[in-house]
Symmetry: C2
Subunit: 114 residues, 2 copies
């Protein structure tokens, strides 16, 4: 299995951990990895990070983000949808308005980053 040439220092520590397989098996499962990736993707744009932090202050409607960023509605809507897919925000309807607010995960992420 581990017939690869590697430095002794590494090989030594590696055998004590069940070889490369041991390490691979200790990794988070695929679903968990996917979840991490989708949160990370949601945070990989400056506007989306700002939106999340703003929401951690108080719930806001889309028109305020539009005012804040100077973006078109459709553009802001796209970024909000990425945040939603990452499970960081959700929204409730209030009359004509959609009011976004952070999920528990969204709140925890903000707290940790701070």
């Amino acid at each position: 299995m581990d017939e690869i040439e590697i430095p002794d220092s590494i090989r030594c520590e590696l055998v004590g951990k069940g070889g490369l397989n041991g390490i691979v098996e200790s990794l988070p499962d695929d679903q968990t990895i996917e979840d991490i990736v989708s949160v990370a993707r949601a945070l990989s744009d400056p506007v989306r990070v700002r939106v999340l932090f703003a929401l951690s202050v108080q719930p806001l409607c889309v028109c305020l983000f539009v005012a804040m960023a100077g973006y078109a509605y459709s553009k802001m809507s796209y970024h909000l949808s990425v945040l939603k897919e990452g499970g960081l925000v959700c929204a409730r309807q209030e009359g004509n308005y959609l009011i976004y607010y952070p999920t528990d995960l969204g709140r925890r992420v903000v707290l940790w980053i701070r």
Copy 2:
């Protein structure tokens, strides 16, 4: 400034927080946002997340990642460079080999995700 039509519930809470400007000013500064984004970007690919978690078990050389993922060297090298740019990993040379290991930030990220 805040001449935008918004629901009263939102407006109410908003004035108590210095209006939209108050919220915008409470946001992290640009440099901090950039740092967050580059970490997030580094984690926004499943292979990179696996590599980081594997490194949090023990330092490893590139050939092991290549074996683990079945990627070409150049491909793995690219992903390692993204992790490096995000400040999550660094490397030391040992003979012919480059041995990657997590930075402090990299370790903290892994601990928090778990």
